[in-house]
């Protein structure tokens, strides 16, 4: 199975808009949303059947048995995450605790235990196609682990599909790094702004560190032609395959707000997305045809 991951560095450049268009165009049998902090793909990939839901447990959280606690303060002194609060009683800050277990190990009274903690929910839709997604619980850590679970769930439900399209998350941190592992190619959706260029350069560096093949496309290219040209020159200089330009198109908001992808209506952005898609398929399946 070839896996195409859509990333951007900067948020809001159009990852999900492009991913949903690609899923329609390729008639993809397998796709996933790895933006577990703020998943959106399910909003336009309308599913006929209900999801199979499963709980996701991240790291466990410490809990102090107040009947056994002698207030020796060792747990608080040794916690690197400032997760132990000492008021009248000793308490664990649920959100600060990373589940490392140091407090449990230093407690001379055995008053601390680690309890499993619900950190999110995995959803798997299987009806003709396979769609794997998840939602992290508010304020939870371990989003990288959940991303890995989303991909694992996707792969185990669809072993022999030819192409999988994966919608990624913004940024360059743990969820992005987790989403990069094992994919065949990354499409970076850039935006022609100074911020967008800076963020694109950082996500390129991150993807290169993990030796992932990269291609670039520019969304809303006509909102700043100068910056668009700058991105294209940058790609040439680094020998990065350029997959095309997509214009700013007010129809996009309308289509998305109807819960549809941009290729389901005849619009300028949809047509451009189709060209980018064709180019990406060539890049992905014909490795000699780079550039």
């Amino acid at each position: 199975m070839k896996q195409l991951l859509i990333l951007s560095g900067k948020g809001g450049t159009g990852k999900t808009t492009i991913a949903s268009a690609f899923i329609q165009l390729s008639n993809a049998k397998v796709y996933a949303d790895c933006d577990v902090d703020a998943p959106n793909l399910h909003l336009i990939m309308n599913q006929a059947s209900k999801a199979k839901r499963s709980d996701y447990y991240g790291m466990p959280k410490a809990q102090i048995d107040l009947n056994a606690c002698v207030q020796c303060d060792l747990c608080r002194q040794n916690c690197r995450f400032d997760a132990i609060q000492a008021d009248i009683d000793y308490k664990v800050d649920f959100y600060a605790c990373e589940g490392c277990g140091v407090c449990q190990a230093v407690c001379p009274e055995g008053a601390v235990s680690l309890k499993p903690a619900l950190a999110g929910e995995l959803m798997l839709y299987v009806n003709g196609s396979v769609f794997s997604t998840a939602e992290l619980k508010m304020g939870s850590g371990t989003s990288g682990m959940l991303v890995t679970e989303v991909k694992k769930q996707m792969k185990s439900a669809a072993k022999d599909a030819g192409l999988a399209i994966i919608d990624g998350s913004p940024g360059i941190g743990c969820p992005v790094i987790a989403s990069l592992s094992g994919v065949d190619m990354v499409l970076i959706v850039a935006e022609p702004s100074i911020s967008g260029i800076s963020d694109m350069e950082r996500i390129i560096k991150t993807a290169e560190r993990f030796h992932t093949r990269i291609a670039i496309c520019i969304n809303k290219y006509d909102t700043n032609i100068e910056n668009t040209k700058r991105i294209e020159r940058f790609c040439q200089k680094l020998y990065l395959p350029f997959a095309g330009r997509i214009p700013y198109d007010p129809d996009v908001v309308k289509v998305i707000n109807q819960g549809q992808s941009i290729v389901e209506m005849d619009c300028a952005a949809g047509r451009a997305a189709k060209n980018v898609f064709d180019k990406m398929i060539k890049l992905l399946f014909n490795e000699t045809l780079a550039l």
Partner: protein, 285 residues
């Protein structure tokens, strides 16, 4: 007063709102907590920059002392240690720096060294002190940088604006923890509303007073506005979709420093925020 600007979804205009509000204030501090993709400094172009490296502690073993008992490996909940060919290996990238392995090694064979994961830059741009956190590419977590950013600034100035990362995970929580007020920036799309709902739940969970700025407003129905009316959330301002503002912003120019029209818009937004925060302080005291 500390004002956090957040959004759930990326690209809705957090940096636009926080940079421009900080610029119209007489004197302010701008803190960029989006350490994975910091952008505020591109607008402020701060001068007199002082950089400080941010490190975390990573364990390393003294081979002569290590007996190969593997107590550290058994203890580590993050699988950051392994014993391969008679040698203890540390996987820096997954280590959470909890210090447990060092603490519980019976041979005292483990110690810690600093590993630089990024930096904090401080500079000045006219009336604004600009503080930026930058995570090095390839590093997994910016939380230690955010902790440093928020722990380490003077309180004397009237306004501190905290530009948050997108999402609603641990990193955002860390950013809003000490905020007096939260501004949620939303765009009028189905995605925008879904993610607005997530950060709305987050600020409610932390009992933070909050209001919404609707950005990129177009003619016709605005699902984000509808959401605010249904939930009875205060709308601070509606910023229309505007090519001129978009162009200024895409060229990393600060709109309020370029055009009186935007200066007026953000000044009145700041006045409303100030009143809101003072009102909150009065009712809370």
């Amino acid at each position: 007063m500390k004002i956090a600007v957040l959004s759930g979804k990326g690209g809705t205009g957090k940096t636009l709102v926080s940079v421009n509000l900080a610029s119209v204030a007489k004197k302010s501090i701008y803190i960029d907590c989006d350490v994975e993709e910091p952008n505020g400094y591109l607008f402020f172009k701060p001068k007199n920059i002082k950089s400080e490296n941010i490190s975390i502690s990573i364990p390393f073993a003294d081979e002569k002392l290590c007996s190969g008992c593997r107590k550290c490996i058994d203890f580590c909940k993050f699988n950051a240690l392994a014993f391969i060919i008679n040698k203890l290996i540390v996987f820096d990238d997954v280590c959470h720096s909890c210090g447990g392995c060092v603490l519980f090694c019976p041979e005292k064979a483990l110690a810690e060294k600093d590993k630089i994961i990024g930096e904090v830059q401080r500079g000045v741009s006219e009336n604004v002190d600009v503080i930026t956190g930058i995570l090095n590419t390839g590093e997994a977590s910016g939380v230690p940088i955010i902790k440093k950013l928020l722990n380490n600034h003077s309180e004397e100035k009237e306004f501190t604006f905290i530009d948050c990362p997108p999402g609603s995970a641990c990193i955002v929580m860390e950013s809003i923890k000490d905020a007096d007020y939260c501004i949620l920036v939303a765009e009028p799309t189905l995605f925008g509303v879904h993610n607005l709902n997530m950060v709305y739940e987050l600020v409610r969970l932390f009992k933070k007073p909050h209001a919404v700025v609707l950005n990129k407003c177009l003619e016709g129905e605005n699902p984000a506005e509808k959401f605010c009316r249904e939930k009875d959330i205060k709308i601070l301002a509606k910023i229309p979709f505007d090519r001129e503002l978009g162009t200024l912003n895409s060229n990393a120019l600060i709109s309020v420093r370029e055009n009186q029209k935007y200066r007026d818009m953000f000044s009145s937004m700041l006045q409303i925020v100030t009143k809101e925060v003072q009102h909150e302080t009065v009712t809370n005291s």
